[in-house]
Amino acid sequence: LGRRLAVVAAAGLTAGAAWLYLREEKARRQRARRREELRALALGQGDFQLLDQTGRRRRKADFRGQWVLLYFGFTHCPDICPEELEKLSRAVRLLEQEPGLPPVQPLFITVDPERDDVAAVGRYVQDFHPRLLGLTGSPEEVRAASSAYRVYASAGPKDEDGDYIVDHTVLIYLLGPDGLFLDYYGRNKTDVQIAQSVRRHMESYEPVLE
């Protein structure tokens, strides 16, 4: 009986190990497929020329070599933008606590250049993370940046105070050191999930384009 039990246990353990291996293989294949899709999209090519909250000129090339978590929003946003920026900031802080990881640059780009000038962006970003950089510029420059990342933005009707809400894509984008888009995180992803995903990307990083 003892021998039979040992054989059954060994078979069970082997089957379990095989199952785990296959599951990990499937996950690996899914990630490789996603990398291929991103390669085909190569989202985020082209340059942008914007101003940060100190009025300093920033080009996309300035961020080469850095990992970036990017969010497009606007300062007159009722709730979604502050929540997403809070979450982005918490994810960045989680990653800061992990030894040996490269720093992540948090970045905010406005989709409302008409109202969000350098001063407005400066007032806005200070509430979230000390290193959060906020970018704005002329409507043309801002549109060029948001179309490079296929961000949808549409200003709604103005009320009698001239106030309006900008409907826009709500995503946090992860950019790798080559400036191209590696991953994205929607409203449903938590700060912890974002940090874990970023860490995984950092550990397995390959440039999107050859």
């Binding site: 007159h76 009722p78 407005a120 509430d127 105070d161 106030d163 309006y164």
Partner: protein
């Protein structure tokens, strides 16, 4: 007319707080807005007009969503209704 600055973080939180108090009152009174007039006024005074409209729509959406989740989806009747 000077362009309005965006609300600060404090102003946002004051607005969200007033909104939450108003919504909690509505929850307690089965959405009878007449029972929550004071909180409604407080909500309107603490939030930009655009945000009041936005949050009103959000509340309607959340109610509709809750209804779908509890009662299920009933396609609108064919003839005779709006």
């Amino acid at each position: 007319v000077a362009r309005m600055s965006a609300p600060t973080m404090e102003e946002r939180k004051a607005c969200w707080g007033a909104r939450d108090e108003f919504w909690q009152c509505l929850d307690r009174h089965a959405d009878d807005a007449a029972k929550c007039e004071k909180l409604r006024l407080s909500f309107e005074s603490r939030c930009p007009q655009q945000w009041v409209k936005y949050f009103d729509k959000r509340r309607d959406f959340l109610k509709y969503k809750r209804k779908l989740e509890t009662e299920g989806y009933h396609p609108p009747e064919a003839a005779g209704k709006s």
